[in-house]
Symmetry: C2
Subunit: 222 residues, 2 copies
Amino acid sequence: MRIGILGTGHVGQALASAWARAGHDVVIGSRRPGDPELLAKLEGLLAAGARIEDSAAAAAHAEVLVNATPGTASVALLRTIGAPALAGKVLLDVAVGFLADGTLSHPVVSLGEEIQRAFPETRVVKTFSTIDRGVMVAPDSLEGPSTVFLSGEDAEAKQVVHGLLADLGWPDDSVLDLGGIATARGQEHFADLFVAVARATGTYEFGIRVVLPAAGQGVAGG
Amino acid sequence: MRIGILGTGHVGQALASAWARAGHDVVIGSRRPGDPELLAKLEGLLAAGARIEDSAAAAAHAEVLVNATPGTASVALLRTIGAPALAGKVLLDVAVGFLADGTLSHPVVSLGEEIQRAFPETRVVKTFSTIDRGVMVAPDSLEGPSTVFLSGEDAEAKQVVHGLLADLGWPDDSVLDLGGIATARGQEHFADLFVAVARATGTYEFGIRVVLPAAGQGVAGG
């Protein structure tokens, strides 16, 4: 599959590397694709077969475009690529936006929804915003199974993303489809609990698992 | 222990009943403690040994006062009791506030922090706002262990609350102390993911478990 990745930070690098190793055709988009410092930083990725181009070229290449840019910058960057170039594409959005004081940039309506509204012809799927890069690409590095979530309006796009998660080692029963893109609020707003747990446990590399009622338990809900 | 419970909804009832059965001296506070309809609704609780009084009397009774009122009403209710009557007490705050449109009343600074700031002499401990009443009082009703969280400034108060969680069946290794009251943001803002998971799975009675790195995994964080 032709994957474009916007964002050259830790998350973008980890995903680019893992999907390139899984045999996908990966192009990383950067605002300065020829920068020697960037090329040095991404040396391992280039060795793994990924290429670096500008953001528009990465988007043009992509069947699935991954947004791994800072959540505060994502919409502006996508606007430079433009709605026509993004129409019909699956946008796998992993971003969360933080302000300088550590609070969320989208504490009510999510970034995922904002992107979907700004680019109505693009098929936005939110995932991975509840975990850090190490767990994204190595779910079996944890002491047991954890859960990842999908949010988006387009069932086929979610199926494509589900397949890309499977390529990273995520078993089917660890993937929970939450519903439409409005449920991206849940994934993004978990960030406050994520940060608190990371500080309390001393690691960013953890997951959460949804633990359902035991079989035969008829606990009333509400 | 003398426990006061503010809030006669499902959560307040479940906690009052469970702690009364565990042998605690429980008084439920209500704005209308003599209301026949309320007395009928709480019949089971009265049979379990809990009493119903007005909110000020429940607070006066309490070594630990539980806030199980709607999060949008909590601060105003506590103000009617007054800071002097609440000084020194442990306030076990389980509330989350929702607006009419389903969004959080405290999407940035948490209700727990607002209460602590309004009542600086009260020892606020946030817990249980990530799960529903059935799981609160029956953690072993799930298919496996899940995690509850503590947030608060006062270590001794958190220890008292930890003991009350143990009385409900929560094992020590399921209780994660997140740190100060600012970490209540994580517990409260999880509500958006809670609601999405509840809709996707068809039950409110689930938990989340923090899944840490497997022993020997040296995954880098950040």
